[in-house]
């Protein structure tokens, strides 16, 4: 792996970390609950991107399954929390 790709990977991971900190500020201080749910969904997505970039870094396929699972859990948790905010219960 050349210096070009390793610096690009470090830059991308740093961008994701900084973006996660910014989203975390909104998650902690968000005025209402739906802001926090959206921030949590975005944090899940940043985790997914980190997994994919680590898969490139280590030249491995194994990170891909983790990323797919994170996408699945992100959808399930966000949909359940949105349903809870809308109706007051998840399964009626």
């Amino acid at each position: 792996m050349s210096w070009l790709l390793s610096y690009a990977i470090i830059f991308a991971l740093g961008c994701y970390a900084l973006a996660s900190v910014l989203v975390l500020v909104r998650l902690i201080g968000g005025p209402r609950a739906h802001d926090r749910v959206l921030a949590l969904d975005l944090l899940y997505f940043h985790g997914l991107l980190v997994m994919l970039v680590l898969g490139i870094r280590h030249q491995s396929d194994l990170y891909f399954e983790g990323a797919l699972l994170i996408a699945l859990f992100s959808f399930v948790s966000s949909a359940a929390m949105a349903k809870f905010l809308l109706r007051g219960e998840v399964i009626e």
Binding site: L4, L38, D41, L42, H46, I56, Q59, F64, L85
Partner: protein, 118 residues
């Protein structure tokens, strides 16, 4: 396995990764700065589309070059996100609209369907 990939492949992958990092950072900045929830729902779409497309294409190009065969399975992530992200966004927007209408503050957008008379 071919750990030595050509330099132009690494250049393409590096450009895609840098682009995705910039897009994700911009979306997080917009998500933090915008003043209203319905405005704040827009910047994550930047990350969900451009961020995921760039990283997934980078993974496809790089893993194909490493394994010396077409490696297309990271595209499944894009298919997954294309299905799930609109559903999540729609549910959250409905929840936010409902909560704003029931919170007593009269700043919610009006209903699109006209009220029935009678």
């Amino acid at each position: 396995m071919n750990p030595q990939v050509p330099l132009w492949v690494e250049a393409v992958v590096a450009v895609l990764l840098v682009l995705s990092g910039v897009f994700v950072l911009l979306s997080a900045l917009g998500f933090l700065r915008l003043p209203d929830f319905f405005l704040r729902m827009h910047p994550p779409a930047l990350a969900y589309t451009f961020g995921s497309w760039c990283v997934t294409l980078a993974a496809v190009v790089y893993l194909s070059a490493v394994e010396e065969r077409p490696t297309l399975h990271p595209l499944l992530i894009i298919v997954m996100l294309c299905i799930t992200v609109p559903v999540t966004t729609l549910l959250l927007a409905r929840a936010a609209l409902f909560r704003r209408r029931t919170s007593g503050v009269d700043d919610a957008p009006p209903s699109l369907t006209p009220p029935r008379d009678g």
